[in-house]
Amino acid sequence: MSAPRSALALALEGLRARRRRAVLSGLGIAVAAATLSVSVVIGYGLGTGFHRATAAAGLPDVIVRFDPQAAPRVAARIAALPDVARYALRLEVTNVGIGARGHQRGDAVAEVLDAPGTHQGYAVLSGHDLGDRGSDVLVEQGLASAWGLALGDPFYVDGLGPQRVVGFAEGPDDVGYPLGKPRFYLSRPAIDAQLGAQADPRVDLAEIWLRNPAYLSEVLVQARATSFGLHDIRFATRSGLRILIDQAAGIVIDLLVALSLIALMTAGVMLAVSARAEVQRRLGAIGVRRAVGATRAYLTVAHALEATLVALPAASLGVLLGGLATVAPAGRLETMLNEPAPRWALAGPLLLAWLAAVLIPSAGAAWPAWRAAGRPVARLLRGADVASSGAGATTRGGVPGSSPRLRGGLVALGARMVAARRARLAVTIATLGLSAAFVLLLLALASELSSLETDPGALGKRYALTAALPPSAAARVRRIPGVLAAAPRYEVQGADSFDLGETIDVIAYPGDHTTFEAPALVSGRRLRGGREAEVGAGLATALGLTEGSTLALALADGSELRLRVAGVVSSLDDDGRVAYIPASALLGPEPAAPSAIAVVLAPGADVSTVLAALTRLGAAPTPVSTAVGRGVPLVDVLRTILRAIAIVDGLVCLYALVQACALTVQERRPAVAVMRAGGGGVGAIVRLLAGAALAIVTPAAVIGVLLERGVLGPALSHLAESYATLPLGAGPAEILAVLAGLALVAAVAVVSVALDAAREPVIRGLAT
């Protein structure tokens, strides 16, 4: 028999002889492979989503929004900019009423394209693009999925009447419904053909593609310099959009990628450790074979093959299950972000994950086998060096004549047994600790999300309504029963003077703004005095502002405010690009700044009464819609994915503990056999393994809590700070839940391994 065939035969024999252990290893590999594939689907799929979307849609390098202008005027300004490859103009009409398939919305965004059919910054996923004629409409994929639209469906548009759905599109410059407003595309030439050409067609959005995107900053400088006369200007660059979309998805993407990476590390460690442990168990057998002439290479190949034979089906199963569990919710998230699902693009990375799940155990078996087979045969024949591992422990001085004691009994013995393998104990504790920290983080996050959904106060908005009334009406509004406080809320769009492309939502109140809006203070203090500002954390991070530095706010008309930054707050509005300033500072340069009366309701106030009173005053009251309200579906998706990750992580914990218990039983077979011979039944083995499990779980739990509260939680909170205040330190409830979970997992591991060990004939252990 040739050497490879012989090695294969040896591998198969090994599998047959240790079927149970092979199954156990296989389960571990499957779990690790599942983790890998979850990481791939989430990390690769979501992480590259924006890039794929922009490539598919040909996202412009700059998107400029402004107040409606004559198209030729805008075109002339754009044509004067350097480095422009091409541009497209459109009119973005908001609050359009739409209806289809029994659904209706009044807040849709209509993108009226000046020149449809050309590259417009969106990708047509199915159907076809708009033309110059016809009552056609392109519907955004997110809206189409949510409403169950099909090609050819009628689509009613306020002001235009019934149109026809001719295609579905994804435009990565904004998030999709339901995360964002429902969006659809129309062709201006087609509308003109239907309704007659407009006398003075307007546009309010320009998409610009550059020949050399590296020259973006220079182009923005020129664009800014020639933008005088345009109002409400917002520049959005690709990187800016990326940030916007990533932040619109909240911390989800970063969080999930981070989590999946942690899980990935855990899985990798686990695989390598179990492979090594396997070899450790078989040192004697390796020695015997070496003694009879087997070569090092032969034994290494045999071990590797054995591990591979187990890993192949296990990895396949794991990758498949992990992928299936996450592909659907990840896909829903991508649709919401207007990013195409990776589909076949995932095949490559998943294949790599599968390969890793196969190769790591194989290498993890081959390498230690290679090393072990290189040791002197006599050492190998002495078997696992358990006897010497206890060496180094000092003799305990007992008091002669005193009654002997077995401190802690079987439980303590079990702990001592598992502690004899220090390195492996450390790795197992680390794995479990990391997983526990992980699950704690997931729980903390999940509970925070719930609080986000139910407590708008967590986002800092204290006013419930705004009323479109002049500032002078504030006093009258305050007198309405049920109104606790009312004040004019001024809001203008500004820009930072030194960094084009950053637009700032400037919010000003007379007096103390925290009555109406109090986003959590990240650093510094609340603003005092007329020349101070509180800036959103997103803005502060982007511009390097801290308390004490100077914010130069350029308002759209070119005037400028200089204010001292008093503190940094976290705010969801405008992705954290917000500045709170005193009304006195704003009204100086902008006496006609737009405002509405913000209304804080008294606790228990009847909202409808207040609304009615406001309407009588002539206002059009608008309830506050927090970003959370928009994000409910996002939170749902996040929960689903978190659940999947948590389950996988729980399996990792289970596997690690089962592995540790099984290895303990395996390596201390003679001791267990003697104990059983001496009358110890399943109960005795359970106590022994309980001690082993305790020795692992207790420090792991401590490490997990400390890691979560000290490192992971703050790190993720920091990641999310421009999106929301998410205190992610696990609370007592979460910690108890995880401890209970660990205890349960330990119990399951202990009992299952004990039952399994009790089934083995005692004499087999004695024969070792």
Binding site: L81, A85, R211, N212, V221, G229, F498, D557, S559, E560
Partner: protein, 505 residues
Amino acid sequence: MSGRIGRRAFLGRAMAGMGAAALAGCGAGGPLPAGSGSTLESTWGDPTGDGRLRVLAGEPLIARAELSAPAADVGVLATFAHLTDAHVLDASSPARVPFLRRLGPPFTSTFRPQESLTAQVLEGALTAVRALGAELVVQGGDLLDNDQGNELSQARSVLAGGIVTPGSGPHRYYGVQLASDPDPFYYRPDVDAPRHPGLLQAAVRPFLARGLGLPWVPVLGDHDILVAGELVPTPVTRALAVGDRALWELPPGLTLPPGFRLQATSSPDGPPAPGSVHEFLIRALAGPTVRVPVDLTRRQLTAGEVVAELRTAAAPTSTRTGDRLDYAVDVGERVRLIVLDLARRGGGSGGLVVAGQPAWLAGQLAQAGGQWLIIVSHQPLAESAAGGELLSLLDRSPQVLATLCGHTHRNRIAPRATAAGGYWQIETASLIDYPQQARALRIVATAGGGVAIRTWMLDHVGYGPLGRISRELAYLDAEGGRPQGFGGGRLDRNVVLYRRAAVRS
């Protein structure tokens, strides 16, 4: 191309060559621009349209036969250079209205991102002119930008040679382009892309000008005698120039005067509208101002003072005295330049033919004899008030070879066909706006008694990065020469303009 190269010209070329080598050493790799600045050898261009200028191959001369069939050269008659609209500028002067630029044309000349580098660009242009080996240089008007005394003295220093100290005031630069200025409508080199930290300090560092070293003749432009090229100095503007208050920001709520329409025109200065600028000034002064250091050298000059200084600095043959710069000067034996002063003494940027000028021109035309005549003015005759009358005179003269002007800041050459044989109308780009070029002209006699003008553009060359930065900023400027096509087409730059022999009626 002339084979005669004087020692001076050779040294000039060598210096420029070394300078270019030094420039290349600190710049990106790639082909070097020609040390002579001649666009026959190399040009600056952006073939990919990505906003970056690169050195490209030179543009060979193209024959233009609209007026006459090409004929063989038989000898050079004259070589001279036309260098116009340098707009040597004091960027720290409080008598400026940079905030008007954002309103759009016709105010785009009130601020330019590269405006602190005008003295250096002029020096670079002179370097190229020296390399040309010309007999004479026509300084085509708008040598100054804002009718200030220190602008004129700096320009004279560059032309004469010696130490040039750009800027004014104790800081030398204290203006709207400072990094501390939060106004995003100004290009601030320390913070805006393309970033050039320290540019403003470098721009006002004294430098040694070599001097033109050639005879030069002046033409009077609107910016030479009018504030912002529009306004006769008033007590308000005079006080502003030597005062301590500057207008940097657009006064809030400032809008265009009723009835005033923004319009693009062929010249950055637009149609004459001194009243509008004055009105803006008054309203702006009522708004926020910035305290700046005083410098009395910023004194605004009268037209007479400017004319006298130019006459002194240059060496024209003046056949008209007084405060007008109408004169004639010979270049070689066969070519005469007739220089017309069309600057409005009463304000307004456009050209104005005053009483007596047609008669004087007619007299000059009659005296021409066998010389070929080139009529030089700052503003194009066709766009000057009553300029048509002068054009009619030129149309009847068989000796008129060309009109030569600046003011439009663009390269443009158009034939004007007449019964008398026709002539070429040549406009030369400015040194301040892209393409920042001067023009070389070589008059050659052709077989059959005709004549040809060989003309090509000259890029300024320097031995430092400031010239390159100025060109880069000028190119990027979305309100500057690039989008407005000031560079002209191929037929407006390096061409041979044929004209048949004069037929006297």
